[in-house]
């Protein structure tokens, strides 16, 4: 790839060979189902500059900038324990421990907001759009699994 990513004053720029650098935003094409896979780099006006199948195809320095930027832009805390779940009316109430600390949230529609990415990997979405990830359902402790099975 004949471009490089640069970081100046906290902002990311893209520069193609001998061209002027442009402000860029780095996005996952599939933030829920395909993280660390396809990447889209867009300009200030949200127009795609380049689409990458993987970050591996770009030089190390640019790759690191892209990785840091993706980590900054996306917030998907991993659930490590489920303390309690409750059904009330058609809502599911969750009290969980994430890698970022404890959290209580409400899920409105489990059919839509409990996304099984694979047999083991699950994404949960609360009623206001915050997302949480269960990296491996199998690796959760017994009481967490029971709490999930109680309501889902």
């Amino acid at each position: 790839m004949n471009f490089r990513l640069l970081k100046k004053h906290g902002k990311v720029y893209i520069q193609f060979e001998k061209q002027q650098e442009k402000l860029a935003k780095i996005l996952w094409a599939r933030p829920l189902t395909g993280r660390w896979k396809e990447i889209s780099i867009v300009d200030e006006k949200k127009k795609e500059i380049i689409f990458l199948d993987s970050l591996n195809s770009i030089p190390t320095e640019s790759r690191q900038i892209a990785k840091d930027e993706l980590i900054r832009n996306y917030f998907l805390p991993k659930i490590i324990k489920v303390f309690e779940t409750k059904s009330h009316r058609s809502c599911r109430y969750w009290h969980v421990e994430t890698e970022k600390g404890p959290r209580k949230f409400l899920m409105k529609n489990p059919n839509r907001d409990f996304l099984c990415i694979s047999q083991d990997n699950i994404i949960l979405r609360d009623h206001i759009g915050n997302c949480y990830e269960i990296v491996s359902f199998r690796k959760l402790d017994r009481s967490s699994k029971n709490a999930i099975n109680k309501i889902i």
């Binding site: 004053h9 906290g10 996306y74 059904s87 009330h88 209580k104 206001i128």
Partner: protein, 724 residues
């Protein structure tokens, strides 16, 4: 917040806002504190302090599932605080108030309700809804009671009928005791007929009082539910459009139908149950104690198990019910998609995949239903067994005492006891379920009240200006507007449209064209600036009159599921058939209408499903013509039709716009060439203004749009030529 932890005195602080994330994006309360000199970010152990002198403005950076408030200084941008979606509204308001504060040095901020219960920190469904876990039932009960005020006569009758029901239920076991003790074991056989008459009397009283109370409860509950539904419908028609923005139609319909239904079911089943059984419970307890207090104590032994067991089972059953609802709704939506999308399913040979998916979901539903049924069966049998333990104990100790010749207990007493026990235990096993359903009913009532309390459009305010006749002069002065807090879609737009002018709004999708239309219709309140109609501020104009002065033809016209005639006439209900025909002719719709088998009586189906896109649009135009408004709004009225139909619709529009202020949005720029002026909108701002010729001359944004479209048309015609 502990001010001292950040070296501050309370009086120094102008405002503070909590966030749920710290700078490392960990869940930790972080405060953004505003003082006269600084903006301070206070985390547990560290603080960041930025002098107000250095801040030019603050902005919000939208990130995935969270946001960042950024201070813009002359040198760089400083990330101040991260927050999850739970604090979006709070920080949007903060941003607005802070930037205003920088300009005017006056601090003023709108109060935002938290998305978490202040008491128990449970997340709330809606900012304005009270926490269902901390719900004060008395408050809701009193509000529900207030709804019954017009029917107080019936309520009094219901209470009397309940008292008679309880009295009639208490009679037979006691009369049995008298028959056994006096007529069978004793010598006074003459009293038998009297007792039998008493028993029959009790039966008749029970029948009548139950009939009366059932009829009254059914009537009252249905009446209250109907009243609530009507009130909800009334309010839903008058709430501000913003209310509908983040709510799914299913959710709102659910509140109108399900919540009122839930309340009705509780009023039919729960309230009489609670009334009758609470009274019976007290009455039976008194009777049992008066007959024999020792046996009465025995009867009470299984009570804790009945209540505890009921509670345990219901706690298990409730999540199962919810799971079952989720599964069945998944099945519904799959079925719905399969039916509505049958063409797509067939054309892409998706039948096997869809069948497999349906089978999987169906099996999941089956397994939940089995679990529910097994739990129910276990519940009923266990409860019956616990009750029979009490009965067995009474039989055992009662019989022993009679056989031992205890004079304080007769055979009649024992049999009366057995009779009362079943009346006593029966309601207990369902007590938890009733408490549960009362909680749900109160939550439903709370949700209903939250809609009824929703802010409504002010249709008739005393100082509303009633314009003698709307001329159609429209003026925007530095109008700003956002649908979602913090995301401005109209960014300071100003223009002046004279009566009778035709204005074309041009720009790419999402630029803000339709939003301008919505603001003219006063469907939303603007954030700042002024919208002026005929020299009067829109906020001061009577909404009803304003809307009567507007004729709107949207991109996809909504038609009601009734006849063509009714659909055209709905814009002027007093119009005659001849008026409707004239409007249909002007809209080039008359010919296709009369050619239909049922002419103007043709039923158009749900959302006009029995008509083509062009036909629907022409009916919408006929509706607008019949309405005869001074201001006309076309929002992509011809975008979904073929060229031939478009020509026909354009002719209809040309008939309609004469002498009226017209604002039109169209992607096909050729249709706007005759507009008096064109406004080119980009990213919520007007970037160019002028007539078609003027804008072409300036070679700006509009000229490039026209050029791109002409090239596109040429390419299309070449392709069509090649295809033959």
């Amino acid at each position: 917040m502990n001010y001292k932890a950040y070296g501050l005195q309370k009086e120094q602080v102008i405002f503070f806002q909590a966030s749920d994330l710290n700078i490392n994006k960990e869940y930790q309360t972080t405060y953004l504190i505003l003082t006269r000199e600084h903006l301070i970010v206070g985390e547990q152990h560290k603080t960041l302090q930025v002098s107000l002198k250095n801040i030019e403005s603050i902005k919000i950076e939208e990130l995935f599932a969270h946001s960042c408030l950024v201070a813009v200084t002359n040198e760089k941008e400083i990330p101040l605080v991260y927050y999850s979606r739970a604090y979006v509204s709070e920080f949007a308001e903060f941003k607005k108030a802070f930037n205003r504060f920088l300009a005017t040095n006056v601090w003023q901020i709108k109060q935002i309700f938290s998305l978490y219960c202040p008491k128990c920190q449970t997340p709330l469904l809606d900012r304005k809804i009270k926490c269902s876990q901390c719900l004060k039932k008395t408050h809701i009960f009193l509000r529900l009671l207030a709804l019954t005020k017009p029917y107080k006569g019936k309520i009094v009758c219901l209470i009397l009928a309940t008292v008679f029901t309880v009295a009639a239920q208490m009679g037979p076991p006691y009369i049995s005791k008298l028959i056994i003790d006096n007529c069978i074991s004793g010598t006074n056989v003459n009293l038998l007929h009297f007792y039998i008459l008493l028993m029959l009397g009790c039966g008749i009283l029970l029948l009548l009082s139950k009939l009366v109370s059932s009829c009254l409860t059914s009537w009252l509950s249905a009446r209250l539910a109907a009243d609530l539904r009507a009130q909800l419908h009334y309010v839903l028609q008058r709430v501000q459009m913003r209310f509908y923005h983040h709510r799914e139609s299913g959710e709102i319909i659910g509140r109108v139908m399900n919540d009122t239904g839930q309340l009705q079911r509780f009023l039919i089943n729960g309230v009489p149950y609670l009334l009758v059984n609470s009274l019976s419970f007290v009455a039976i307890a008194i009777i049992l104690i008066s007959i024999d207090y020792q046996l009465a104590l025995l009867v009470c032994l299984p009570v804790p198990f009945l209540i505890g067991g009921g509670r345990w089972f219901w706690n298990r059953l409730v999540p199962l019910f919810h799971k079952s609802n989720t599964r069945i709704s998944a099945l519904y939506s799959l079925l719905n998609e399969s039916i509505y999308g049958v063409k797509v399913v067939k054309s892409f040979s998706l039948e096997k995949r869809r069948n497999k998916q349906f089978k999987t979901d169906n099996e999941k539903f089956f397994s939940i239903r089995c679990q529910i049924n097994y739990t129910f069966a276990g519940f009923n049998e266990t409860m019956f067994w616990i009750m029979s333990l009490g009965v067995t104990a009474v039989w055992l100790f009662g019989t022993e005492r009679i056989v031992a010749g205890d004079p304080s207990l007769t055979l009649g007493d024992l049999l009366a006891f057995i009779g009362y026990i079943w009346l006593f235990y029966g309601p207990l096993q369902w007590f938890t379920s009733i408490m549960n359903s009362s909680t749900n009913a109160f939550a439903s009532a709370e949700r209903i009240f939250s809609i009824l309390d929703e802010e409504q459009e002010t249709y008739k305010v005393e100082d509303n200006t009633y314009l003698p006749k709307v001329q159609g002069e429209i003026c925007f002065r530095d109008v700003r507007f956002s649908y979602d807090k913090g995301q401005e879609v109209i960014k300071g737009i100003s223009f002046h449209i004279m009566p009778g002018e035709m204005i074309g709004l041009v720009g790419k999708s999402g630029a803000g064209k339709s939003t301008i239309m919505n603001l003219i219709c006063h469907l939303y309140k603007i954030d700042s600036g002024q919208v002026i109609i005929d020299g009067n501020d829109l906020q001061q104009i009577n909404i009803e009159q304003l809307r009567q002065s507007l004729g709107i033809v949207p991109q996809e016209s909504f038609l009601f599921n009734s006849s063509i005639f009714e659909n055209i006439r709905c814009s002027r209900p007093q119009a005659s058939f001849q008026d409707v025909v004239r409007a249909a002719k002007a809209a080039n719709a008359h010919d296709f209408i009369v050619n239909k088998e049922n002419g103007y009586d043709t039923l158009i189906g749900e959302k006009g499903s029995r008509l083509s896109g062009g036909e629907k649009q022409r009916i919408a135009i006929a509706r607008a013509i019949l309405h005869d408004p001074p201001i006309l709004i076309f929002d992509e009225a011809t975008s979904s039709v073929d060229s031939q139909t478009e020509k026909s619709i354009q002719e209809a529009i040309a008939n309609l716009v004469k002498g009226r202020t017209t604002i039109a949005i169209a992607h096909r720029l050729a249709t706007l060439r005759h507009a008096s002026r064109l406004f080119v909108i980009d990213d919520g701002k007007i970037v160019e203004k002028g007539s078609h010729e003027e804008l072409i001359k300036t070679q700006g944004r509009y000229a490039s749009l026209v050029k791109a479209q002409e090239e596109n048309n040429q390419l299309r015609s070449k392709t069509n030529f090649i295809r033959g």
